[in-house]
């Protein structure tokens, strides 16, 4: 894990009222703004930035909001359940489960309790909470520290899902998530933390279910989520040198999912590649592909290609890890296979 220059903490303002922030700083900004704007917001758990050097940002938040951050014991069933009860009784907790692989311990609290409460009580009770994980292949994480469980959560009715890919998006989506009265599953990729973006200084709330075309194009549509948006953009740059114009669409949230935006883009380009870091089988790509085929069958001039993590547990060794994960090169190859 590269160690970025973390000395500059104050964002450097630029003329048009926005600052150049790292993804991690965008997250911290969103967390600070949420805590400042609503006294009922609480942080439960402290590994929002994993074990990266950005970890010091939680120390900074704890100093500003000493009584609003709770460090629970290593008992995920216990403290995720506590988060649910607190949400029911008037707080708005942001519960951090840290590495996504640890989500499987409190899985019943998430999918059996939080997701169902509003529905099975006939709408009487709400559970306004955010559940955060650091997902994805991080380098040497091996099989128990590299999971991307969002496809499994996406298959669970009653939970919204956000997978931001930029500092601006994570800040804006987080503000919306905290104010949403439903459980929201928020997955960050550890490798996103160092990416720098323009983030507006004025408070911004980005609505759920609205995709963003991160790069316009005409020949092919690439849909990516989380870190994969970055890789899709890199692939698009490489393809541009061969005169291939790729459009990159970032849905930003899986639930609600902006199907119209994807269908509109595919309607223009006629080709679709989906890149996502979940395991291929029953992954995010499978649902998007099936759905696009169902509703844009005739617009498609070639089969939909999925670029995802191979159906193997994540190996420890670096060369094997790279062979497994969806890389920029694989995205380029997939696009070429449609245009060949």
């Amino acid at each position: 894990m590269s160690s970025p220059d973390t000395s500059t903490t104050a964002p450097s303002p630029s003329p048009d009222g926005s600052s150049r922030l790292s993804y991690a700083e965008g997250m911290a900004l969103g967390l600070r703004e949420a805590l400042a704007s609503d006294p009922t917001v609480r942080l439960m758990g402290q590994y929002f930035f994993g074990l990266t050097p950005w970890r010091r940002l939680t120390v900074d938040i704890r100093e500003r909001f000493p009584d609003r951050v709770w460090d629970p014991p290593i008992a995920e069933i216990g403290y995720v359940g506590t988060g649910i009860g607190a949400a029911i009784s008037g707080l708005r907790p942001i519960v951090d489960v840290a590495t996504a692989s640890f989500l499987f311990q409190p899985f019943s609290q998430v999918v059996n309790e939080a997701a169902n409460i509003h529905y099975m009580t006939g709408g009487q009770t709400r559970v306004p909470m955010v559940i955060h994980v650091n997902h994805g292949i991080r380098g040497g994480g091996a099989a128990q520290h590299s999971h991307s469980p969002q496809a499994m959560i996406w298959n669970t009715p009653g939970i919204k899902v956000m997978t931001p890919s930029s500092a601006r998006d994570v800040r804006g989506l987080l503000r919306t998530a905290v104010e949403d009265d439903n459980p929201v599953f928020w997955a960050d990729h550890v490798k996103l933390f160092d990416h720098i973006d323009e983030v507006p200084d004025t408070e911004e709330r980005i609505p759920f279910g609205v995709a963003e075309v991160k790069r316009a194009g005409t020949d092919v549509t690439i849909v990516g989520t989380s870190l994969m948006v970055r890789r899709a953009l890199e692939a698009a740059d490489m393809l541009a040198t061969d005169g291939i114009s790729a459009e990159v669409v970032d849905p930003r949230t899986l639930v609600p999912f902006d199907t119209e935006a994807v269908l509109a883009s595919v309607g223009r380009t006629g080709r679709l590649v989906i890149v996502d870091e979940c395991h291929q089988s029953c992954g995010v790509g499978a649902e998007i592909a099936a759905r696009v085929a169902e509703h844009a069958f005739d617009a498609l001039r070639a089969p939909i290609r999925r670029v995802a993590t191979a159906d193997v547990p994540i190996p420890f060794g670096r060369p094997m890890e790279e062979f497994v994960e969806p890389t920029t090169a694989k995205v380029v190859a997939a696009v070429r296979s449609l245009l060949g």
Binding site: I74, F102, G140, A142, A143, Q144, P315, P319, M320
Partner: protein, 308 residues
């Protein structure tokens, strides 16, 4: 026993150096300072007995006799490693010497060990299973469920808690009012003993009592070894959360110097240390020379037959 303790110390120090030089990737949790528990426990076990480790398990694998070359190769992601580079530090496995597996999930290995102990009750091989975990595991649900089942079924198992007073970054007292996890064991009618984890002989004695009880069908034993890890929770952890005086105080009680003094081995210690460091040097050379894990190995061993 002293030879194995020196082997562990040399191995862990070398692993730390290699990590600093980026020759080892991922997360690395070292057990420098916890050698006495590993060797004390292993010396009470026989080849047929099984050991399950946590995420800080190199010491326990080496204590059972794992080959340092293949172990270091695994940690360095080489194809000659025990697991062909697929497991890494948190998933080392050396079944031929009885070290079954480590785990990356806090407390995740305790139920596995129960299963091995259950298997022994059916096979009648008289084997005993030992499972090691940190005090951080004491607050997990599986810890509580496991003590209950082990006691109910009288399983031949040793619960060995290395209580180093810290769960990741916060002191144990921040996570539970229970200072001694042995207290939980007593609730389930499991005989429990607390020993000085830096005294290899004391650990060996407690382990022998537990093994004898288990072999005689007397069920589980809980050993709480009070120890201290001289490194951070993981490599790269500045460890600012511990006052420096606390660290130096423990250095005085280093388990190796303690064992040498107690057993009167001053004459042999230097020679054993050199032999250990030489073995680790050889292991390092072999590991770094070995080919890195190759992608074509990637799709094998997912299941018996490769699934789609």
């Amino acid at each position: 026993m002293l030879e194995r303790m020196w082997l562990i110390r040399a191995f862990e120090e070398r692993a730390s150096e290699m990590y600093a030089r980026n020759q080892i990737a991922g997360l690395l949790h070292l057990g420098i300072g916890q050698e006495a528990v590993a060797v004390g426990l292993a010396s009470a076990l026989e080849p047929r007995d099984r050991t399950f480790g946590g995420h800080r398990a190199h010491a326990h694998a080496l204590a059972r006799g794992a080959d340092p070359t293949r172990l270091l190769a695994e940690i360095a992601g080489r194809s000659t490693g025990y697991c062909g580079g697929k497991g890494g530090s948190m998933h080392i496995s050396a079944p031929e010497v009885g070290f079954v597996t480590a785990t990356g999930v806090v407390g995740g290995n305790i139920p596995l060990a129960l299963g091995a102990a259950l298997a022994a009750t059916y096979s009648g091989d008289g084997s005993v299973t030992a499972v090691t975990f940190g005090d951080g595991a004491g607050q997990t649900g599986s810890f509580h469920e496991s003590l209950n089942i082990a006691s109910l079924w009288g399983l031949p198992i040793l619960f060995v808690c290395e209580n180093n007073g810290y769960a990741e970054f916060s002191p144990l007292s921040a996570h539970t009012r229970v200072e001694r996890l042995a207290r939980h064991a007593e609730t389930y009618g499991i005989p429990a003993v607390t020993v000085d984890g830096n005294d290899a002989a004391a650990v060996l004695g407690a382990a022998q009592v537990g093994v004898a009880r288990a072999r005689a069908g007397g069920g589980p034993t809980f050993i709480e070894a009070l120890t201290y890890r001289l490194r951070g929770h993981y490599e790269g952890d500045p460890g600012k959360y511990r006052e420096l005086t606390e660290v130096t105080d423990w250095k005085l009680r280093d388990p190796i110097t303690r064992f040498v003094a107690d057993q009167g081995l001053e004459a042999d210690t230097a020679e054993l240390e050199d032999r250990a460091r030489a073995a680790v040097d050889a292991a390092t050379e072999a590991a770094l020379a070995a080919p890195r894990a190759s992608p074509d190995q990637l799709l094998s061993q997912v299941t018996a037959a490769v699934s789609q």
